[in-house]
Amino acid sequence: MIEWSAIILTLQLAAFSTTILLLLGTPLAWWLATTARRSKPTIEALTALPLVLPPTVLGFYLLILLSPSSAIGGFWLSLTGSTLTFSFSGLVIASVIYSLPFMVQPLHSAFESLGRAPLEAAASLRASPIDTFFSIVIPQCRRGFLTAIVLSFAHTLGEFGVVLMVGGNIPGRTRVISIAIYEHVETLNYGQAHALAALLLVFSFVVLLVVYTTNKKSVVRIA
C-alpha cells in the first residue's frame, strides 16, 4: 500500500519552496553579482550558511525561531490562528532557508560569468535595467537558472533533518516522504521503505532526465 499522501505532500513542498526560492533568490543573486558594497562578503557567507550547518542544528534553531512564543511565530499565530511549526507553511519556510544556497549560488555564478559586456550593449540600445534583465540576462543565463531550479527542487525532495525537528510527522500536513521512509526503516518495514524510496528515486531521475534533454537543444554551439 503506497503512502500517496506523503508523496503528494513532498511534491507540493518541493514545488512551493522552489517557486518562492526563485522569486527571492534571483534578486539576491543579482545583487551579489553586481554590487560593490562592502557588505557583500557578509551576505555571501550568510547565504552559504545552510550548506555547512547540520540539518538538525538548522532544525533546532528553526524550532526556536518559529515557535509561537517568538516574534515570527507569534505574529503568524495572531495572523492565522495556528502555529508555524507543525504546519505546511512552517515546512515551506524551513525548506526555503535550507535550500537557499542551492538556488542562489548557481544563479550568482551564472550572473557573474555573464559579465557587464552584454548589459552595457543592451543599455546602449535603449534597454532599461528591467528590460535588460528579462530580454538579455534570463535567456543568456538559462543554464544557470535550470541548474538552480533543479538543485533546489531535488534538495527539498530529500529534506529530512530539518523536517524531523519542526514537522511533527503529521500525516497529510508534515509527514513527507523522507520521514515515512525513515520510520519504515526504523520499524523494519523494509518492503514499504523500498517501495517509497524507489518511487522517489525514479521520479527524481525522470525529472532530471527531462530537464537535461530539453536543455541540450539550446546548447550554445562553439564555432
Partner: protein, 359 residues
C-alpha cells in the same frame, strides 16, 4: 555640439578632458594604448563614473554640480564596441530587431535601409557564432544605427580585425557616417584610420588633451612624434584613382594634376577618391628630375619652409605640390649641400611603399 568637461581617476593617472566636438561629421580620439581614450568614450556613454559636465546640443547628460546623471539607456547614443557584443541567444535579424523595437526617437533609419547600406541581407538568418569578425562588426554597426542615436560612439571598431577585414569594413563606416547628420566619435590608435575617416581629431596622452582641432592640422603637429615609436609626423594627400594595371598590380592616381602610382594587390572600384598618408621620412628631394631611379613617384613642387633642428642631424622641409603640402625629412648636411632655400623649385620623391593605405 558635444561639450565635455570631465575628470575621473584611473589606475595610472587622472583623466581630465575639457574639449568640444563638432555637431556634425566624424571626430577621432587618438592616442597611444592606455592613454584613456576608451575611458573617455565610456564616460561619455555613461558606463564609467566621472565628475564634471557633459552636454550634447544643450541637453545635459552629466552635471555634477547639479547632481544630474542621465543613465546610459536614457542617453540617445549608439555605441559600437571593440568586440561587437552581439547577443548570442538571438540570430542576426533578431539582434537588429532588438534595437529597432526599442528606439524611442523618430526613425531616421529604417530596417531595410540599414540592411541595404551595410549589405546585411545575406547574414540575416545566421547565428552570431557563425559570423566572421568583419561581418560581426558590420552587424553591430547596423544594430547601433537602428536605435536612432543622436551621437555615435565607436570604440576602436577596426582594431580587433585582421588587415583584410579592416580594408573591407572601412568603406562601410565611411559611407554610414557620411550619410549621418549627427556627430560620430571614434577611438583609434591607428593614425591611418584617423587620417582617412576623421575631420576633427583630439589627441590624448596620459589622460590629458594634447591637441584638438581639424585632423590635418593636428597630424602635422611636431609634438605628435612623441606618441608612438612608429608614428612620425606626415601629411594627408587627396588623390583619385584613375586606372589599375592588373599585370603589375599598380594603381594609377592623380594628385594635383600629377600622376602617381601605388602598389595594390586587388583591383579597386573605379573611379574613387582616396586619402593617402605620407610620412615625412619617406619623402626625399632632388633639385633636378632624377633619371634611372627605382622611385616611381616624382612630384615637382616649390619649397615653402625649412625647419632645422640644431640638436639633431635633421631638417624638415615643407613643399607645396599644387594646393597641397608635403613634408620631407632630410639631413642638414643635404640642405647645405643642395643649396636649398625657401621658394626654390624642387622635386619631391616619394617611395611607392609609403602610399600603401594598408600600412
Amino acid at each position: 555640439m558635444l561639450h565635455i568637461d570631465i575628470n575621473t581617476t584611473l589606475s595610472d593617472f587622472d583623466l581630465e578632458v575639457n574639449t568640444d566636438f563638432p555637431a556634425h561629421g566624424i571626430s577621432a580620439i587618438f592616442g597611444r594604448s592606455g592613454s584613456g581614450k576608451t575611458t573617455l568614450l565610456r564616460c561619455i556613454a555613461g558606463f564609467h563614473p566621472c565628475h564634471g559636465h557633459i552636454c550634447l546640443a544643450g541637453k545635459d547628460w552629466l552635471n555634477t554640480d547639479q547632481q544630474l546623471f542621465v543613465a546610459p539607456h536614457r542617453r540617445q547614443i549608439g555605441y559600437v564596441f571593440q568586440d561587437a557584443r552581439l547577443f548570442s541567444h538571438l540570430d542576426v535579424a533578431a539582434n537588429l530587431r532588438f534595437a529597432h523595437s526599442r528606439a524611442t526617437a523618430k526613425h531616421q533609419f529604417e530596417l531595410d535601409q540599414v540592411i541595404d547600406i551595410l549589405d546585411l541581407q545575406g547574414l540575416l538568418s545566421r547565428d552570431i557564432q557563425d559570423l566572421s569578425g568583419g561581418e560581426g562588426q558590420r552587424v553591430a554597426l547596423g544594430r547601433t544605427l537602428l536605435c536612432q542615436p543622436e551621437l555615435l560612439l565607436l570604440d576602436e571598431p577596426l582594431s580587433a580585425l585582421d588587415q583584410g577585414r579592416k580594408t573591407e569594413l572601412l568603406p562601410y563606416i565611411k559611407s554610414v557616417c557620411d550619410a549621418l547628420d549627427i556627430p560620430a566619435l571614434f577611438v583609434s590608435h591607428a593614425i591611418d584610420e584617423v587620417a582617412q575617416l576623421a575631420a576633427h581629431t583630439v589627441v590624448l596622452e596620459d589622460g590629458k588633451v594634447q591637441s584638438a582641432g581639424p585632423t590635418l592640422e593636428v597630424l602635422e603637429h611636431p609634438g605628435l612624434q612623441r606618441l608612438t615609436g612608429r608614428f612620425e609626423a606626415g601629411v594627408v594627400l587627396n588623390a583619385s584613382i584613375t586606372s589599375y594595371d592588373e599585370d603589375y598590380q599598380l594603381a594609377q592616381l592623380v594628385v594635383e594634376g600629377q600622376a602617381l602610382v601605388l602598389p595594390m594587390a586587388h583591383a579597386p572600384t573605379l573611379p574613387s577618391k582616396v586619402k593617402l598618408f605620407v610620412r615625412a621620412r619617406d619623402v626625399s628631394v632632388a633639385t633636378v628630375r632624377p633619371q634611372n631611379i627605382s622611385i616611381r613617384n616624382v612630384l615637382p613642387g616649390k619649397l615653402l619652409t625649412i625647419k632645422t633642428e640644431h640638436t639633431t642631424p635633421f631638417a624638415e622641409l615643407s613643399i607645396a605640390v599644387g594646393a597641397q603640402v608635403l613634408h620631407a625629412r632630410v639631413t642638414r648636411a643635404a640642405v647645405a649641400e643642395l643649396n636649398l632655400v625657401e621658394n626654390c623649385n624642387l622635386f619631391a620623391l616619394i617611395k611607392s611603399v609609403s602610399f600603401d593605405p594598408d600600412d
